[in-house]
C-alpha cells in the first residue's frame, strides 16, 4: 500500500508529458511527495518510482543528492540559516546558535519537541547584500538580528492569524532527542 494520496499520485503521473524525457519529472515528483508527507520516506520514494515507472534505487539516488530533499523528519517550519562567507562576516555563526537555542534544539537537523521547528546551516543563498539572512517558509528574511529571529519564531508558535507553512498530514511520532 502506498503512502502518497491518490490525488498526489495522479499529479505525479501527469508530470512526464511536460518534459522531453520522463526522468526529468523525478525532482518535481519528489517535491510533491515531500510537500504531502513532510519528508521522503522509503515508501514515498518507491511510490514516486512506481508512478513514474522508474527504478526506486534511481529515485533514491536523486533524492539523496540534493540538499532540499529531506530523508529525515524536519520541523514544520525549517530555518535555513546561511552561514557562508558574506553572512559569516556579519555574524551568522552567532545567529545560528541563537536560533537553535530559541527553538530548543541542540544540533542541526534535530526537530524541536513541539514538532514546529528545525534549523539547518546552509551555503550561500544568493542574497549576500542582506547578510545575515535565512530562508524560512518559502521566503527570505534579511538583516537578521537575534530579536528578528525571535519574532519570526514567536509568530509561528502563536499564530494569529495562522502563519502559512507546508501542508502536513499527521504522521508517526518524530525523532526525539534526549538531553545530553
Amino acid at each position: 500500500m502506498g503512502v502518497l494520496s491518490d490525488h498526489v499520485m495522479e499529479e505525479i503521473r501527469a508530470l512526464p508529458p511536460q518534459f522531453p524525457e520522463v526522468r526529468s519529472a523525478v525532482m518535481p515528483a519528489l517535491d510533491l511527495a515531500q510537500e504531502e508527507i513532510g519528508y521522503l520516506t522509503p515508501e514515498a520514494m518507491s511510490d514516486v518510482a512506481a508512478a513514474l515507472n522508474l527504478d526506486p534505487g534511481y529515485v533514491e539516488g536523486v533524492a539523496t543528492f540534493y540538499t532540499l530533499f529531506h530523508t529525515e523528519p524536519t520541523g514544520k517550519h525549517r530555518l535555513y540559516m546561511c552561514t557562508n562567507i558574506s553572512c559569516k562576516l556579519r555574524g551568522a555563526d552567532d545567529l545560528l546558535e541563537h536560533a537553535m537555542r530559541s527553538v530548543g534544539v541542540h544540533e542541526q537537523g534535530e526537530v524541536s519537541a513541539d514538532g514546529l521547528f528545525s534549523v539547518e546551516a546552509v551555503e550561500c543563498l544568493g542574497a549576500c547584500e542582506y547578510a545575515p539572512m535565512m530562508r524560512l517558509d518559502h521566503a527570505y528574511h534579511y538583516d537578521l538580528t537575534p530579536e528578528k529571529v525571535d519574532e519570526l519564531i514567536t509568530a509561528r508558535r502563536n499564530p494569529s492569524p495562522p502563519v502559512p507553512a507546508r501542508q502536513t498530514k499527521p504522521r508517526t511520532p518524530r525523532r526525539q532527542k534526549t538531553d545530553g
Partner: protein, 456 residues
C-alpha cells in the same frame, strides 16, 4: 518586498530599476520593454541577431567570460531534433546575488532576452533552470510567463510571426555544482548533478536530452534586449577596448552599502568598493577582497586599483611587484579573475585563515565526488584547517595545505570546482602566510585582537 539594495536607473541592465511594479508586463512595456523582441522576431533573421551580439562584444557573465555571439554561432542551423536554450539561474557562488536582483526586479527583461536568444539559435523551447531556494524570482518569472502568454508573445505566433515560442521553468534542489553547465544539464534530465567530461560532442551538438543546447547565464541573457533595441554599437560604447559593456557586481561583507551595482567594465574595484559601496566600515581597514565570488583568488586590500577588465583568468601585471611570495597557481603565476562579479570584502577584524577554512568547508561539502583530488583533497584541507585553528596544528598542516592546493589545480579535476578550492588555499596562503604561521606555530590570532580592539 525588501528595500532595493543596488543600482537604480543604471546604464543598461538596471536602466528601469526603481520604477514601481517593474515586474509587471504593462509597466515594463510602457518603459519600452518588448520592443526588442518584436523587432527581432518580425524584422531580423536569426543570423543577423547572432552577428549583432557578436559585434556588441558581450561575453558570458556566468564566470567563464566566453563570447556570447560566438557561442550562439556554434549551434547547428538545422536539426532533426528540437534545440534548446537553457538559462543558468542556479546562482550559488558565494558572494553572488546579482541574478536574483535582476530576476526579482525585472523578470521581463530576462524573459524578453530568452525570446530573442531562442529565436537566434532556432530553438522553440527554452528552459530556465532556477535554484530551488529562489522563491520570489520563481514566482515573478512564473507570473511573467503567464503575462506573456496572455499577450500572445508566447505560443504559436508571437507578434504574428510564424515562429512558435515556449518558455518553461525547472527548479533546482540545492546543490552548488548544478551551476556548472554539464551538471546543470544532468540535473535538468532528472539525474544526480555531476559534471560531464566536456570533450566533443559539446552541448551545441549534444546538450540537454542529447539535443543541441546553448547554456547562458541570467545576466548575459538579460543584456540581450538592450543590444537588439539600441544596436551593438551603443552597447560597445561602454567598457574598454577588449571588454565591452557594463556588468553587475554584488558587493557584500564589510562595506557600508552592500548591494548589487551595475558598473561600466574598465573602472576599478576601488570605484566599486569605495565609491558605490561606500568603502570600509567606520574605523576599519579593508584587508582583502574576492573579485568574483569565493572561487576567484583573493586579493589584498592594497590592490583595489585593479581594473574590472579582467580577461578571464589572467596574470595581473601589478601583482608581479607585490611583496607576497607567489605560489604556483596552476602554473599561471599569480592571477585572479572577474568570475561571477560577486565581490566579497573583508576587513582587518577578520582572520584570513578562518575565512579560508569556511570556504574549504563549502567546497568539500559541494564536491560531487567524481574526481579523487576534489573529493579527498577538500576534506584533507578542512582537517588541516581544523587542526591549525584549534591550536593542534604545526608546520606539517601548512605543508598539507600546500600539497592539496597543487593537487586540486591545473586540470587534475573535471570541473572548475576543484580548481576553485585550490585557488582559495593558494591565494590565501600567498597573501596571509603570516597568519597561518601565527596560528599553527604560536596559537595566536592577530585579527581577533584587532577585532576586539575595534569593538572595545
Amino acid at each position: 518586498m525588501a528595500e532595493l539594495r543596488g543600482t537604480t536607473n543604471g546604464p543598461v541592465l538596471t536602466r528601469w530599476f526603481g520604477t514601481d511594479d517593474l515586474h509587471r508586463i504593462d509597466v515594463y512595456e510602457r518603459l519600452g520593454g518588448y520592443v526588442a523582441l518584436r523587432k527581432a522576431i518580425t524584422t531580423m533573421t536569426p543570423d543577423q541577431i547572432v552577428q549583432e551580439i557578436k559585434d556588441s562584444g558581450l561575453r558570458g557573465r556566468g564566470g567563464a567570460d566566453f563570447s556570447t555571439g560566438v557561442k550562439w554561432s556554434l549551434m547547428p542551423k538545422e536539426s532533426a531534433v528540437p534545440m534548446h536554450l537553457v538559462v543558468n539561474a542556479d546562482e550559488s557562488e558565494p558572494g553572488s546575488a546579482k541574478d536574483r536582483y535582476l530576476m526579482e526586479n525585472s523578470p521581463h527583461m530576462l524573459l524578453e532576452g530568452v525570446g530573442i536568444a531562442a529565436y537566434a539559435i532556432r530553438s522553440h523551447q527554452a528552459w530556465i533552470y532556477i535554484r530551488g531556494e529562489y522563491d520570489l524570482p520563481f514566482a515573478r518569472l512564473t507570473a511573467g510567463i503567464e503575462e506573456m502568454r496572455a499577450k500572445g508573445y508566447l505560443g504559436p505566433k508571437p507578434f504574428g510571426a510564424d515562429w512558435e515560442l515556449d518558455i518553461r521553468i525547472f527548479r533546482g534542489h540545492g546543490a552548488y555544482i548544478c551551476g556548472e553547465e554539464g551538471a546543470l544539464l544532468e540535473s535538468l534530465e532528472g539525474k544526480r548533478a555531476q559534471p560531464r567530461a566536456w570533450k566533443p560532442p559539446y552541448p551545441a551538438q549534444k546538450g540537454a536530452w542529447g539535443r543541441p543546447t546553448t547554456v547562458n547565464n541570467v545576466e548575459t541573457i538579460s543584456t540581450v534586449p538592450f543590444i537588439i533595441d539600441r544596436g551593438a554599437a551603443e552597447y560597445a560604447k561602454f567598457g574598454t577596448e577588449k571588454a565591452k559593456g557594463t556588468r553587475m557586481f554584488t558587493v557584500s561583507g564589510h562595506v557600508q552599502r552592500p548591494g548589487n551595482y551595475e558598473m561600466e567594465i574598465g573602472k576599478t574595484y576601488r570605484d566599486l568598493i569605495e565609491g558605490l559601496a561606500g568603502g570600509a566600515l567606520p574605523g576599519r581597514t579593508i584587508k582583502c577582497w574576492w573579485p568574483g565570488g569565493s572561487s576567484s583568488p583573493v586579493m589584498p586590500g592594497d590592490l583595489l586599483d585593479t581594473t574590472t577588465d579582467l580577461d578571464g583568468i589572467k596574470n595581473l601585471a601589478n601583482l608581479k611587484d607585490h611583496p607576497a611570495p607567489p605560489l604556483n597557481m596552476g602554473g599561471r603565476g599569480f592571477a585572479t579573475m572577474g568570475g561571477s562579479g560577486g565581490v566579497i570584502v573583508m576587513d582587518d577584524t577578520f582572520c584570513a585563515v578562518k575565512a579560508a577554512h569556511r570556504l574549504l568547508q563549502f567546497y568539500a561539502h559541494e564536491s560531487c565526488g567524481k574526481c579523487t583530488p576534489c573529493r579527498v583533497g577538500g576534506n584533507w584541507a578542512v582537517r588541516a584547517y581544523d587542526a591549525i585553528l584549534s591550536g593542534n596544528g604545526g608546520p606539517q598542516e601548512i605543508k598539507i595545505l600546500e600539497r592539496v592546493q597543487e593537487g586540486l589545480q591545473g586540470g587534475r579535476c573535471l570541473c572548475g570546482l576543484g580548481d576553485a578550492a585550490g585557488w582559495v588555499i593558494a591565494s590565501s596562503l600567498t597573501h596571509y602566510r603570516n597568519e597561518y604561521e601565527e596560528h599553527a606555530l604560536h596559537n595566536v590570532c592577530s585579527a581577533e585582537k584587532v577585532g576586539m580592539a575595534a569593538n572595545a
